[in-house]
Amino acid sequence: MNVVVLNEVRKGFYLDSVALMRLSREVAGSPGVIEAALMMGTPSNAAIMRNAGLLEEGSAIKGNDLVIAVKAESEAAAREALDNAIKSLDKPKTQGEAQAAWRPHSIAAAVKARPEINLALISVPGEFAAAEARKALNRGLHVLMFSDNVSLEDELSLKQQARAAGLLMMGPDCGTAVIGGAPLAFANKLTRGRIGIVGASGTGTQEISCLISEAGAGISHAIGVGGRDLKKDIGGITTLMAIDAFDADPETDHVVLISKPPHPDVAKSVLERIGRSRKSYTVCFIGASEVQLPPNARFSPTLKGAAELALGHHQIGADFDANAVASRLPRSGRGGIEGLFAGGTLCAEAQVILAAAGRKVASNAAIPGVLKLGVEPSGGRDRLIDLGDDEYTRGRPHPMIDPSVRDEALRAALKNRDLSVILLDLVLGYGAHADPAEHLAKIAADRGPDAPVLVASVVGTEQDPQGRSAQIRKLEQAGFIVAPSNAQACELAVAIVQNAGR
């Protein structure tokens, strides 16, 4: 057998002998290596190495020198083992369990401590968020930026930087994403499957992913892009990258794109990109009228409709008949609807449905064609309020985290003699309140005998920490009527007021 001995001497490099023995064992385990030793060059150590045939004759070493000696079956194996030994000598060490009690103060330190990290989830106050995101991008991390209040310029420059580095910049104001089953920020526990989601809207993504998951199909990934990604200024940078990512993902067959109606230029480039994709698409521009689509895409103006298209025309909540439910309710002669939404996209979907049903609607987060609340008098209109909007959340948590944000409005609505129906949504999942149904039930318990009908839908899955059916049961016990989806809750509200009007 061909035996090669290689020596390397590091002058004046002292290491504890025990550490060296451990390294010796590691190196000796390399392929093709017969024997290896890392030792300080004391005379007795030199003797040991000579006896083991590890030391070249005539090598002059001193006690302070570190000798790395490798005996191997080939020059290449010896060289490689030697290089590895030197590398492991010089490599920074990460510490094991002792680190548990210690927390890094910066992204840089976190990445140093755990080099496997590949994504930063950033939810610091908006004014600092861009700087943190930039640091994360600098370190080669994808970013999910939950924070909002980031300037458009910052958003654009971050997304440009990300694109240049081949990194995904989700957000700012990205409420949810699910990457490979990892719930990022507000997200539901979903069945895994072959449908992907690209969402410019957090609660929209949640509603669609939950409807799909509860219908028995599953989600591969849900990529959030942030509320402004499809604005003209940003140009859909992240959306386009997300489409690329899904094209490359063998786990995904079909993709749902959810957004408010984008700027026409951006819509054009996004749809054009979709047209080049090998996957089929469902496009949901909430409230938009039918748009010009490539052949591999279908369109829906509502979340439920989008979910149904993605499921292959499977009808969601088929056994829920809004008119039948409404007809069983006692009639009241009033007729107004008030919607109190935690999810902004759910509020938008409600506007679409109510408007389509011929209702006169006003909202603080009005979609095109809907009256903006507070701008003109809204008397006689249904009011659909997005309680996650800035005016309600300034200095307080989002209603998904703290449902009490909605309390005041709900109490007032319950006493409002002009209303027939109060429409509510309940968002479950990670990040959300631990038991929102219990909270709502408590508030509703004080209502008078002739209070408006409470109609709700629950965005969530059975696997969610709160448990979808448990939450529904709690609501039903408290006298709410719970529809299978937000869209159906809206339809029911319409049916009730129409019934009342007859």
């Binding site: 023995m21 451990r22 024997e35 007795s44 000696a69």
Partner: protein, 481 residues
């Protein structure tokens, strides 16, 4: 007959062992509950379990055997903690200490006959015979040993301790350590330099004999001059204490202690009348061997533990020693008896070219350091040591914490920085070893199983449960009489 009305008035707080299904009622009631991960004690025999139960102390029954043992143990612990081992002298020859030694060779571990000795021990015996000129060739030496011409006795029975094979022959110089508290003395041979080829690892080649002669003629006189130059001798406890704060366990790592010893003798040596050449040679020898202090560490521990030996009823281990075949322990309250069990092969790292197949079972008196609460018991002081068993620094802390479960006290003189300066656990109670089924851990070097091959690695080993089980049995029998 007394009833126990207190039972019913107290809030009930339960310890549960055995079937965990039975805990559910207690859990549901909200009563405090501690579940034990019970397993049969010691070697798993019910008889031992019952014997052991007889030895448990009882604060309300001062006359029961267990309470007597507890009192005796408190006395033993006091003796251990108050010991003041001081290096006072070098005996130029062992025969000065024991004038009627004759052709006696002292060895490590419990008693053993020539035929039963392991390879390294036999090699060391041959070496010692050659060194003493009782024979002129290894062959002749072997005949002499085999013919019964040599008396063998454990070092421990002579107040001495020897590392690895631990051979002490009449001409060898010895460290003399005195426990100033009790006035007893302990002895240990000097560490040979010369790398792998040493008598303590069973080598007997001519250069080994030369090395021993050098110790006798150079090192011993120099160190004698050095120690006599230090007024009152060199107190070892502060030095060892300090070295624990410098990463030593004073068993397998003596780097800092040796350095501190070097510093302590340098001045004294230079002031002495010894020639500069010899001084230079001595300083070079000590300076080149990071383990040089081990002999003094062992002698200090021996002086400490001997003072604690012989307290009737005590269940504290006063010696753990291995002869390469068996591990033997001595128990304070069971004077004159060894309790032995088969020695294990240390688990650890090997020098290049060697493997576990070459290893001799555990050998040497150096486990006296663990007996005195150092070595593996103070592993938290020496995180580098756990590398031997592939552990992390956290494991070092775990060793020191776990050993506290088999000891009765902590030594405030030997504190562990990484455990916030808590004292190292000390005073191995054979009852606790058996009750916890937790064997004392020992840091050790590994010898080649063939004589003369020397050190091939280092690691940790555990003393066999049988020693402790037998000691428990003996305590129960003695106590019952």
């Amino acid at each position: 007959m007394n009833a126990a009305p207190s039972t019913l008035q107290n809030k009930t707080s339960v310890i549960s062992l055995g079937a965990s299904d039975l805990d559910r009622g207690v859990e549901s009631s909200g009563a405090p509950l501690v579940r034990l991960q019970w397993q049969p004690v010691g070697d798993g025999s019910p008889e031992v379990a019952w014997s052991l139960a007889q030895l448990v102390g009882d604060t309300t029954d001062a006359d029961c055997l267990g309470s007597r043992i507890d009192r005796a143990n408190a006395e033993v612990l006091e003796r251990i903690l108050t010991a003041q081992p001081v290096w006072v002298d070098i005996a130029a020859h062992a025969s000065e200490v024991w004038p009627d030694m004759g052709r006696t060779l002292l060895h490590a571990g419990p008693p053993i006959a020539w035929n039963d000795m392991c390879g390294p021990m036999k090699g060391a015996v041959l070496g010692a015979i050659l060194y003493e000129n009782w024979a002129t060739s290894p062959r002749e030496a072997e005949q002499l040993a085999a013919s019964g011409g040599i008396r063998f006795a454990p070092c421990h029975e002579f107040g001495a301790v020897g590392p690895m094979t631990g051979i002490i022959s009449p001409s060898m110089p010895l460290f003399v350590v005195e426990n100033k508290t009790k006035g007893n003395r302990a002895y240990a041979p000097m560490m040979e330099s010369g790398g792998a080829k040493t008598l303590r690892f069973g080598a007997f080649a001519p250069e080994v004999i030369e090395g021993l002669k050098l110790i006798e003629t150079v090192l011993a006189p120099c160190l004698k001059a050095a120690v006599t130059g230090i007024d009152g001798g060199l107190p070892l406890k502060p030095l060892m204490s300090q070295s624990l704060h410098m990463g030593d366990d004073v068993h397998n790592r003596n780097t800092a202690a040796t350095l501190l010893l070097y510093r302590a003798v340098t001045e004294s040596l230079l002031k002495s009348s010894i020639s500069r050449d010899l001084v230079h040679e001595t300083l070079r020898t000590i300076g080149a061997d990071d383990m040089f202090f081990l002999s003094l560490s062992m002698a200090a521990c021996k002086a400490t533990m001997d003072a604690a030996h012989g307290v009737p009823f005590s269940s504290i281990v006063t010696a753990m020693a291995r002869n390469g075949v068996n591990v033997g322990i001595r128990v304070s309250g069971l004077d004159g008896q060894w309790f032995v069990g088969p020695a294990d092969i240390p688990v650890g790292l090997f020098l290049p070219g060697f493997s576990e197949a070459d290893a001799n079972p555990d050998i040497g008196d150096s486990a006296i350091t663990e007996t005195a609460g150092l070595g593996a018991f103070a592993m938290a002081a020496a995180p580098a040591m756990v590398q031997f068993v592939g552990g992390t620094p956290q494991d070092a802390l775990r060793y020191s914490r776990e050993m506290a479960h088999v000891t009765i006290g902590r030594n405030p003189g030997f504190t562990l920085p990484m455990l916030d300066f808590i004292g190292a656990p000390v005073g191995i109670d054979v009852r606790k070893v058996v009750d916890e089924s937790m064997r004392p851990v020992i840091n050790t070097a590994t010898a080649h199983k063939e004589p003369g091959m020397g050190i091939i690695g280092a690691g940790v080993v555990q003393a066999p449960m049988k020693c402790f089980v037998d000691a428990v049995g003996a305590l129960a029998t003695t106590g019952a009489r």
